[in-house]
């Protein structure tokens, strides 16, 4: 049998006077993110060209959070994520592995990482592999420092990620989607629109079709990752983009992918590119 089309149903509902579309109160909050009174962060921008057929404007997840959560990110003293940045600096300077080297031995200060967060994930020219900051960290840890790879979501990895992301705070995300990135970007895009699990939901179902609306008490954002890593009040801890993907796919009652999987690398590249035009937030605060 042919399923009835959605358009018919909507037409019927409208005829019955039902409010089918979103409620004004649930839209992204109109506000500006200015940190410590002087650093303005771009949290709203015209959609990148590849998204323009589905949305006009991209918004950071910051716009979808409550007043007090947004305020925490406007003051570094109140931002609990800054503790991880401090710890990251200690780790940066600490030697590890058989080579007895620290990150600082080769890279000097963390400011040498400025700009990296805005252009990753990217495809490494030498190896042809998709590299996120975590992958670069582990490459150094294993091949140059002679230590065991850090767990993708381990405390030392997250601390370093927080420190390195902070060096690009305020810079505009500009992830390459063409050239060697193209096949990975296509793979990530296909995943973004795949309806996984027993709930048969794709990323797009929640973060493209329904952002601004509420699923129970959750105010759906566009699922942007320019703010990652985020300090999540609910978990009282730092969460990476990959970790968030694991959770969102698991919540569709699906077999999720691993945080270090090639699939999630491709997805991260694609999702990052949906935020081209927003600024890196360094370490953000979400609930």
């Amino acid at each position: 049998m042919q399923p009835r089309t959605i358009r018919n149903v909507l037409a019927a509902s409208v005829a019955l006077g039902l409010a089918v579309t979103g409620m004004a109160s649930a839209d992204p909050v109109d506000d500006e993110l200015i940190i410590d009174g002087d650093l303005k962060i771009v949290t709203q921008a015209p959609a990148p060209e590849h998204l323009q057929d589905v949305m006009d404007t991209i918004w950071s997840g910051w716009h979808f959070r409550e007043d007090d959560t947004r305020a925490m990110q406007m003051d570094d003293f109140d931002n609990p994520g800054m503790i991880f940045v401090d710890r990251g600096l200690d780790r940066w300077n600490a030697s590890m592995g058989t080579e007895d080297k620290s990150c600082a031995s080769c890279h000097e200060g963390p400011e040498s990482m400025k700009g990296l967060r805005a252009v990753t994930p990217r495809v490494d020219e030498a190896t042809g592999k998709v590299m996120s900051i975590e992958d670069y960290v582990n490459d150094c840890v294993t091949t140059r420092m002679g230590a065991e790879a850090l767990g993708m979501t381990s405390a030392p990895m997250k601390d370093l990620l927080a420190l390195i992301s902070m060096q690009s705070r305020g810079e505009i995300v500009n992830v390459a989607i063409d050239g060697p990135a193209a096949p990975f970007w296509e793979q990530g895009k296909e995943m973004y629109y795949t309806r996984y699990g027993q709930l048969e939901m794709s990323c797009a179902n929640c973060h493209e079709d329904n952002y601004g609306l509420n699923i129970r008490s959750d105010h759906l954002s566009q699922g942007q990752i320019n703010g990652f890593p985020v300090y999540r009040l609910k978990d009282a801890g730092l969460v990476t983009a990959r970790q968030r993907f694991v959770g969102c796919v698991r919540d569709t009652r699906a077999e999720t992918f691993g945080s270090g999987s090639d699939e999630f690398k491709a997805l991260e590249l694609y999702v990052a590119s949906r935020g081209n035009g927003l600024a890196v937030e360094g370490v953000s605060v979400r609930h």
Partner: protein, 157 residues
């Protein structure tokens, strides 16, 4: 009893009730998105239906829909049309079809199919993130579907 014992016992109970009159998810017949006959032959209980509609691990219908009569349960979603007056718009058979598998009524619907065992893309074992084995147990039992339909039938305006 050990956990394994309880699970085995529950599975037996489930299989036992299936053996009665219940229609298995893969055998449900949809006509224009509707299911004409009861999935169990046992009339639905609207009180149990209210519970299934508001419990996160069951129907959790209020995650997406608002229902004025269920205001006691906080935080109704704004994703989907309010369900007030649903039986004025849909017959009992249509409501049964929508709850069991809304995609038969609304092509490509965001609404999950609550009485379906597969096939799925990367089916999971409930919310564990681990792989599940198809046919998956449906999210709602046949009787819970009947209970929810019975509750929806009370929402006349």
């Amino acid at each position: 009893m050990t956990i394994k014992g309880i699970l085995a016992f529950a599975a037996m109970g489930f299989a036992g009730s299936l053996a009665m009159a219940e229609v298995a998810p893969e055998n449900v017949a949809y006509t224009d998105g509707a299911i004409e006959t009861s999935l169990t032959g046992t009339p639905g209980d609207p009180v149990a239906g209210e519970k299934a509609m508001t419990t996160a691990s069951l129907g959790n219908c209020v995650a997406c829909h608002s229902v004025t009569a269920l205001e006691a349960y906080p935080f109704h979603g704004t994703i989907a049309p309010p369900l007030d007056g649903a039986p004025d718009r849909w017959s009992e058979a249509e409501l049964r079809g929508i709850v069991a598998n809304a995609k038969m009524m609304f092509d490509g619907s965001f609404m999950p199919a609550f009485y379906k065992s597969g096939p799925y893309v990367r089916p999971g074992d409930a919310y564990t993130g681990k792989a599940g084995t198809e046919p998956l147990p449906p999210i709602l039992s046949a009787q819970q579907v009947e209970d929810i339909v019975a509750y929806l039938m009370t929402l006349k305006e």
